[in-house]
């Protein structure tokens, strides 16, 4: 970038993070640095020679008259090896490096480069490429091993294609070294490096979109078995404070069968990011056995950091997600919380004096949300591979009221809805996902996968369980009106069965070392086991066995604990227990059957 030609101007007015600048020739969306500290910001509207800029850092003690500089490009991120395992702020400043350089607090005007220029990467060129071949944008030039888990595929930047003139041989390279040259249609020669830049507000190109075909396995029973999410799909996790949105997202980040996980802490707590930073390097990816941090990247704009950078943070996250998608990976991006992003939008729009439409939010809230979620998807990449971005956004409705604007607009956009309930959380039923309010539009597609890979009975068993939970709600209403005596034995057994489903299947503690992850196999086994016990009991009740006698069977207490007694590798033990449990029922059955035959 040619710094001498940067446009120069001055500050006219400072209104918190919104600053009016006089900078002739500046473009909308252009990055600027303002004041003697050189604070970073971005132009959001133009009016004659004046422009409004939103500033990513605190503007305290900045004055009118101080200098302004236009940087000539929009907010962009660096895309290349060295991203994974890192923690960046909302505008991709490397927080680890900033800590080492500047100490505990984030200083203003400091902007170290996101990717480490001193680091050497071992580059292996793609075998199918040769000089003088035509090459398209997004083609894989070669690869470097970014972490033990992730092979980073070096791509031709999206805006360059033409003829490959030169490709570097296998060897060690710094980020800034040239690893190839491409001559475009205009004859211009581009030197390619291990990294390139891309503006965050512009979706990266792909060949075509494809439908999701396979569920994302998260190891959480209520999610995978009841409200499945497909790879490449979009999902919202709304819930009042303390209901478990962050825990759900951390669990997905830990256990999902994704190649890359991008976790964006958007306007939330600093300690929650520390929790990930501390625990992920010690936890093992259940699929590769490698430390989880080897596939994870964090973007952190905590609640006390400047709100404008918060608005940018989710775009930084999604752009990096698209970049790994373009390498042919299944990426999961988690945003906690999209409500804080929407609030940042509201704050800026308020300062601009834009007309609020609902609860202070600007009219474009819905379209911005939709455009953001639209960047999720499963695609054919430019290089003819398949890649996906699955997007999971937490929503924090004020007062837990799902009719508020952010929740209601989001609900119209997403495919899967994991609704958290305060009542369940208060009773310590975790994950506090409400099986009535939640939904998945992709049960059909997920069923194909389950039937093929796990068990043909999956969809049937799932429906049976949901049916029982619905019956349970109805019957409980009756009990609350007229007492339990009003119910028949069969009805009371439904209540027992539903309680077993809740405790034995739905509840799953993130903190329990055995149960924190449940393989699809174990998920189905537990569900099937409990429903089989319920069915066996229902038969007995028809034979006239009192419900009391069944409820007091000691095997039921063990049934509730099964999930914590057997881990995902102990499927055989689980099967043995199943035999044992059903035998107890058979015994009662023969007892009663005999009694029935003998005249009293």
């Amino acid at each position: 970038m040619n710094t001498t030609s940067n446009k120069k101007g001055k500050i006219k007015d400072i209104n918190g993070p919104i600053v009016t600048i006089e900078l002739p020739g500046v473009q909308n969306g252009e990055q600027v640095r303002i004041g003697s500290l050189g604070l970073y910001g971005e132009v959001i509207s133009l009016e004659g020679n004046e422009a409004l800029a939103q500033i990513y850092e605190s503007t305290e003690m900045v004055r009118p008259g101080e200098p302004v500089e236009g940087l000539g490009h929009p907010l962009s991120v660096e895309l290349g090896p060295g991203l994974i395992g890192g923690i960046f702020d909302g505008v991709q400043r490397p927080l680890e490096a900033m800590f080492l350089k500047a100490g505990d607090q984030i200083p203003r005007g400091l902007s170290p480069l996101p990717l480490d220029r001193d680091k050497v990467w071992h580059f292996i060129p793609s075998e199918n490429l040769e000089p003088n071949m035509p090459i398209i944008n997004g083609a894989v030039l070669g690869r470097v091993q970014e972490t033990e888990t992730v092979e980073h595929r070096i791509l031709v930047p999206p805006n360059i294609s033409g003829e490959l003139i030169e490709l570097a041989p296998e060897g060690d390279y710094h980020l800034e070294e040239s690893i190839g040259q491409v001559r475009d249609q205009q004859g211009e020669i581009h030197h390619l490096k291990l990294y390139h830049r891309w503006p965050v507000r512009r979706p990266r190109p792909y060949q075509s979109r494809d439908n999701g075909i396979e569920p994302l396995i998260t190891g959480q029973r209520i999610l995978d078995t009841f409200f499945p999410l497909l790879k490449g799909s979009k999902c919202a996790v709304p819930g009042p404070f303390g209901a478990g949105k962050t825990v759900v997202q951390h669990q997905v980040a830990r256990w999902a069968n994704a190649d890359i996980v991008i976790y964006v802490g958007c306007g939330e707590r600093g300690n929650e990011l520390v929790d990930v930073l501390d625990s992920f390097p010690k936890l093992k990816d259940p699929y590769t056995g490698r430390p989880l941090m080897d596939r994870t990247l964090l973007i952190a704009n905590t609640s006390n950091m400047p709100v404008v950078a918060r608005e940018a943070s989710i775009y930084v996250g999604i752009t990096i997600a698209e970049y790994y998608r373009d390498q042919g990976y299944d990426v999961v991006m988690l945003a906690d919380s999209t409500s804080r992003w929407a609030e940042a939008l509201r704050e800026v729009s308020g300062r601009l004096g834009q007309m609020p439409v609902e609860e202070g939010y600007p009219a474009y809230l819905a379209s911005r949300l939709a455009a953001f979620y639209e960047r999720a998807g499963r695609v054919d990449t430019m290089d003819s591979g398949k890649g996906s971005v699955t997007l999971i956004g937490a929503v924090s409705p004020p007062g837990g009221d799902f009719s508020e604007p952010v929740t209601s607009h989001t609900k119209e956009i997403i495919q899967t809805f994991w609704a958290l309930s305060k009542e369940l959380a208060d009773a310590r039923h975790y994950p506090a996902i409400d099986w009535v309010d939640s939904f998945s539009a992709d049960v059909g597609t997920a069923a194909e996968w389950w039937h093929e890979n796990i068990d043909r009975e999956w969809e049937k068993r799932r429906s049976q369980a949901l049916g029982m939970l619905a019956r349970d709600a109805e019957l409980s209403r009756i009990v609350n009106l007229v007492g339990p005596e009003a119910l028949s034995s069969a009805q009371r057994w439904v209540l027992e069965g539903a309680a077993l489903i809740k405790e034995g299947v739905l509840q799953q503690s993130a903190l329990d070392p055995v149960d924190t992850f449940s393989s699809p196999q174990k998920q189905f086994m537990l569900l099937d086991l409990i429903l089989s016990v319920y069915d066996a009991g229902a038969d007995l009740i028809e034979l006239g066995v009192p419900v009391q006698e069944l409820s007091e069977m000691s095997v039921l207490a063990r049934l509730r604990r099964c999930k914590e007694l057997y881990d995902s590798n102990q499927i055989d033990q689980l099967k043995a227990f199943r035999e044992e449990a059903l035998n107890d029922f058979k015994e009662i059955h023969s007892e009663y059957a005999q009694r029935g035959e003998q005249p009293a």
């Binding site: 918190g16 927080l95 800590f99 505990d104 707590r269 006390n304 609030e343 004020p398 959380a425 007229v482």
Partner: protein, 459 residues
Amino acid sequence: MSAKEYRTASSARGGLLTVANVPNIAFGDRVHIRDQQGNTRNGQVIRSSDEEVLIQVFEGTSELDLESTWVRFLDEPVEIALSPEILGRIFNGLGEPRDYRPPIVSSLRRSISAAAFNPAARTYPKEFIQTGISTIDGLNSLVRGQKLPIFSASGLPHNRLAAQIVRQAKLPDDDSRFSVVFAAMGVSYADARFFQEEFASSGVLGNVVMFVNMADDPPVERLTLPRMALTAAEYLAFDLDRHVLVVMTDMTHYAEALREVATAKGDVPARKGYPGYLYSDLAEIYERSGRIKDRHGSITLVPVLSMPSDDITHPIPDLTGYITEGQIVLSRELHNQGIYPPVHISPSLSRLMKDGIGKDFTREDHPHVSNQLYALYARALETRNLASIIGADELSTRDRRYLEFADAFENRFVRQSEDEDRSIEETLNLAWDLLSTFPPQALTRVNETEIAKYHRQSV
């Protein structure tokens, strides 16, 4: 640098003063305003252009006239002077002494609006603090560096509870006490007096810094007060290596002051007239608690707030709950039953508890015992509800056991006296007394080993 002085005030309205034709004034600059009586008021620049500067006047703009008002720009942000001498002192929201003693003289002055902590600089809070209160230690444990508010309402004993926490808080096997920073916003004379006497009688006064803004003091000062207090706390924690407990009361008065100023500025309201940035503003305060790598000290934050009309979904408790690491919720119902402390456990939560309790921290059964009590109490409250509809006589024996549990739990576990300092061991044993009224197979949240070891029927 020469401070600039102007007499070009062009409007005064609700705590805001506009001054025309003052070039190059810094955003956030501190301001002195001299009125016609010659009295000085304090202010801060909240918007600045060459044509016009907008000043928030802490003491308000009443009785200002535009003609004879002089405005001096000090060319510095709002700061606080810091030295070890702040311990034992009382200040107002601007950091000026209100104990009739001389101001702090120190070359160390810090802006009260500190830059955010780098998340990469934090360490995860893990050290269990024993408050001696069973509902907190047993079920909603506090750890060093946590922010755990008390959600209360008018007439409930939140001050007594906060004072008891200050008196009793310590690490289980460590007798060193916390340094205390006490921030009072819009409090009554009686409340301020209560805390002062509390600190005096428990002999900690020399280890306390107080920042006090009374109900009849200027509301705008409530906006700077918690920031003054936290800057002092950061100094004690990270410069002087102390473990600091910050008690702030009442955050509702703080938020109301913020709303007052926001309304005067014409900011777009979000809910109930509170500005959309209330969340970020509160977060700037609450996120200043924590632990920092390679620093010995810590800041543990216990804000107290009253829920307007006992409504937990009101924006103030709601946004607080979205920022803090849990909440201790007080209940009018328990209070009316004469139970102290009236902690309603169902909506209460400590998010940092998971890493600070259990084997090696408190006792191995602690996490499960806590879950079990929660689950039983939730069920017991449902049963109590049912009993109130159909009558207790209609309940099954199983259900009646839950009813009895609810009563025992509230009267033996929740209830304790103000000078009762229970060790965590005592709290957990008490929990097992209650759990043992159920047969082992009814307890599915504790494991079989724990039952064998602690259940009274098994022992």
